[in-house]
């Protein structure tokens, strides 16, 4: 009989749900309190937070909506109102939600978004700005555009930082002041960054526990813990959350407790998005092989260098620096991504590579090249899983199972040659 594996869940991660729910509820009910609301793609949401304006974060909301199993319904609304299926599923989620709210279509209350007073179109990928452009054309919603370039290579950081800082100072801050009717609150931005710096520093200490064999936690645990280092930025509850998490990891580590029970058979790298709409589904599949996803490019991009954040005296400058020099923007691009993956594999004792490929999102660059180069360099196998972050129409269950079976067979066969243990 085949060995059965399961995840020994952390206690701390059970605390994240209420924090996240509170955030989205605060946004959902903002209009009832007469507050203004913004929608934002990319990381400029901090500028709204600094003005005490409730603001959504496009990828974070999409993960929340899909994770709450409400995504498919909103995607259906988008399709019925004319959206085409080959577009980004996050784009469609927002088009569907705006249509639903404007026209009163039935949507689950816990995922409803209020129609924004302002859309901050952070052009991390050009497609992330298309929804804002489309909603302007459809409903006349105010837009401010920020060109948030993902860098091709490290040597470009200096001029990209200058460009972004110019946009923040000349375009975004004046726009926020105009919309909110008050001067920009630099002190509040510094406070948010102070909390972020502390949170991300403890988070980095937590990531060290992934290096332990067996690992006391999984990438799924870290995935659900991302909000405090991104859109819950500045929330003081973030620091105790990560302190508690670290203490639990330390305790497990001391007692050599593995997150995968009865044993951690394989340690895999997970590239690309986390499959937010199907997290439980994928985690059960991967766990059934005794495999633990240890690290990935996406979760590693959340302010990996908190040491570079200096909240005072100039929060705008330091934020820009954290984004580029701090390695927040760029992991998705091939050259910075290749260096990162190349470092991660030996550091985290990785046995195999899973490249999760979202069919409606092409932001993770040159995945096939990275996989091939890493296979050659480290002699470990790789596999691609074609699916999506939120749209189940984009994947074939049988194809994924077949690929995973073959992948883990190869991993098993190469186990003897494993160089890390």
């Amino acid at each position: 009989m085949a060995q059965e594996f399961k995840i020994d869940r952390l206690e701390t991660t059970r605390l994240i749900g209420p924090m996240v729910d509170k955030h989205w509820k605060g946004l959902r009910t903002a209009k009832e309190r007469g507050e203004k609301v913004a929608w934002c793609s990319g990381v400029p949401f901090i500028f709204a937070y600094a003005m005490d304006m409730k603001c959504h974060f496009m990828a974070g909301y999409s993960a929340y909506c899909a994770g709450r199993k409400a995504g498919e319904h909103v995607l259906e609304i988008a399709e019925k109102t004319g959206e085409l299926q080959d577009t980004c599923s996050y784009h469609r989620l927002h088009m569907g939600m705006a249509e639903a709210v404007k026209r009163g279509y039935d949507v689950r209350e816990d995922v409803i978004l209020p129609i924004p007073d302002l859309m901050i179109a952070g052009r991390v990928c050009p497609e992330m700005s298309h929804y804002a452009e489309a909603l302007y054309r459809k409903f006349g919603i105010d837009v401010v555009g920020i060109d948030l370039i993902t860098p091709y290579q490290e040597s470009d950081y200096p001029f990209l930082e200058k460009y972004l800082e110019q946009q923040f100072r000349e375009i975004l801050i004046p726009k926020m002041e105009k919309v909110c009717g008050k001067p920009f609150n630099y002190d509040r931005m510094s406070e948010i960054l102070t909390v972020l710096k502390k949170t991300a520093t403890i988070r980095n200490e937590c990531l060290e526990y992934f290096k332990k064999v067996p690992s006391p936690w999984t990438l799924w645990d870290y995935g659900v813990s991302l909000a405090p280092v991104i859109y819950l930025m500045g929330n003081p509850e973030s620091i105790p959350y990560y302190e508690k998490l670290k203490a639990e990891l330390e305790e497990r580590s001391k007692n050599n407790i593995s997150a995968i029970v009865p044993e951690e058979k394989h340690r895999v790298f997970w590239d690309g998005w986390l499959p937010w709409g199907f997290l439980g589904h994928f985690s059960r599949k991967i766990t059934s092989y005794g495999a633990n996803p240890i690290s990935g490019r996406y979760p590693w991009e959340m302010f990996p260098r908190p040491d570079l954040i200096e909240p005072e005296p100039d929060p705008v400058k330091t934020y820009v620096k954290a984004l580029y020099s701090g390695g927040m923007l760029g992991n998705n691009m091939a050259k910075p991504g290749l260096s990162l993956v190349s470092e991660i594999i030996p550091e985290y004792h990785i046995d195999g590579l899973i490249f999760f490929t979202a069919k409606s999102c092409r932001i993770w660059k040159s995945q096939l090249t990275i996989m091939e180069k890493m296979e050659r360099k480290y002699g470990i196998p790789g596999v691609t899983l074609e699916a999506d972050m939120a749209d189940s129409k984009m994947f074939s269950e049988a194809q994924i199972d077949t690929r995973l079976n073959a992948f883990f067979e190869v991993l098993e066969a190469r186990k003897e040659k494993r160089r890390w243990v």
Binding site: T87, Y136, G145, I149, F159, E386
Partner: protein, 379 residues
């Protein structure tokens, strides 16, 4: 005339052979330039030949080991050509950021089949604010310096002005061909028009202009063919060549294409420069013009649908055919607005989704016949 058109067609359908031959004859270097926004004039001023990257005629084979199959035809085909060593005549390649797939090609090529010179540009969107124009100029300076350093040839103000004039002349000649087609619909077949514009992207501009000058009077002598034809314009196909088989089909079905809004068409030669000041600034101003609207450029205020409706009205055509390249997100995200607007305006519109490899010609024929019936029936 037939000889000139044959030459244009040869260049358009087999740029590999014509460019290799050109290089042998001239001893000059060739730089591949990503479609739509990179100012070719700067490459030209450095004494090299800029050619706009294209979608090849063959099915993608090895390329699928390097790029996922759910990328657009240009991305997959160009990567396929590069990893199969079909592009070794290109001494350099310059890419820019316009959609996610435009970001996929450069790194995949640089990591697997690097050209001798490589440059990636971050061309800004058309957002309000001077930061974006400033940054465009910054990127043009970076491009100029990179080419100068690599070629060892300084790009002077004079050489750049001269290149701009050469390009302006070609643009004005292409415009004349288009005006002729509008004036005498049917005189130039759609596949001929495609070859005329496409070859301009793949040839020495002065030679192309000379050939165009000899072709124009001949074309003017052709007879107008409009008897009982449905007049249409074609729109879309943002950075890649539409299939000539589909263009033929449109005409065989009984339609005549009077004008277009496609990249390898009227978009390529829109907006002459006539520079009098700083040439880099002039290039920036041309590239940052709001018309024709470009869905990759993030300009939410200038409506592409207005532009298309104006084109329909101005040309007094009976319908519009959208050529939507599969996996082209800027167009896909815009299309619901396009569809809605044409319904509101009562203008017949049909969308044909086209892919690099397989085009179901019979299915398209049936849809086009139905489209004609809708127009004739006034449904």
């Amino acid at each position: 005339m037939e000889e000139v058109l044959r030459r244009f067609t040869e260049v358009s359908t087999d740029p590999y052979t014509s460019l290799t031959k050109w290089k042998e004859q001239t001893g000059k270097k060739i730089i591949g330039s990503f479609p739509m926004r990179i100012p070719e004039e700067i490459i030209h001023a450095s004494g090299m030949l800029p050619v706009v990257m294209w979608r090849g005629n063959e099915a993608v084979t090895m390329g699928h080991s390097y790029v996922h199959n759910f990328n657009c035809g240009l991305t997959r085909s160009f990567i396929d050509d590069a990893v199969r060593d079909k592009l070794t005549f290109m001494d350099g390649m310059i890419f820019c950021r316009s959609c996610l797939q435009a970001e996929e090609i450069p790194s995949t090529i640089e990591l697997n089949a690097p050209p001798r010179h490589f440059l990636y540009l971050y061309l800004p969107p058309l957002y309000p604010g001077s930061a974006f124009r400033d940054f465009f100029i910054h990127e043009m300076k970076r491009m100029k310096e990179s080419l100068e350093e690599w070629s060892g040839q300084e790009i002077t103000k004079e050489s750049l002005e001269n290149s701009i004039a050469i390009y302006d002349k070609n643009r004005s000649l292409l415009k004349k061909v288009y005006e002729l087609r509008k004036k005498k619909p049917g005189t130039i077949k759609a596949r001929e028009m495609l070859a005329i514009v496409h070859s301009s992207m793949l040839m020495d501009k002065e030679e192309h202009s000379r050939l165009l000058e000899s072709l124009l009077p001949e074309l003017e002598g052709r007879k107008e063919i409009t008897d009982d034809k449905i007049s249409v314009i074609i729109a879309g196909a943002l950075c890649q060549t539409p299939h000539t088989a589909i263009l033929d089909l449109i005409e065989e079905a009984g339609m005549v294409i009077v004008d277009d809004d496609i990249y390898i068409g009227s978009r390529y030669f829109a907006n002459e420069i006539h520079s009098s000041g700083d040439p880099l600034e002039a290039l920036a101003d041309r590239n940052m013009k709001k018309l024709p609207p470009d869905p990759t450029m993030g300009d939410w205020k200038t409506l592409w649908t207005d532009y298309m409706v104006d084109k329909v009205r101005e040309n007094k055509v009976q319908g519009i055919i959208t050529l939507l390249i599969k996996y082209c997100p800027p167009h896909l995200c815009y299309y619901p607005d396009i569809r809605r607007r044409f319904v509101e305006e009562g203008i017949p519109e049909i969308m044909l989704e086209v892919e690099h490899e397989v085009v179901s010609i019979e299915q398209i024929r049936t849809r086009l016949m139905a489209f004609i019936e809708v127009i004739r029936g006034g449904v």
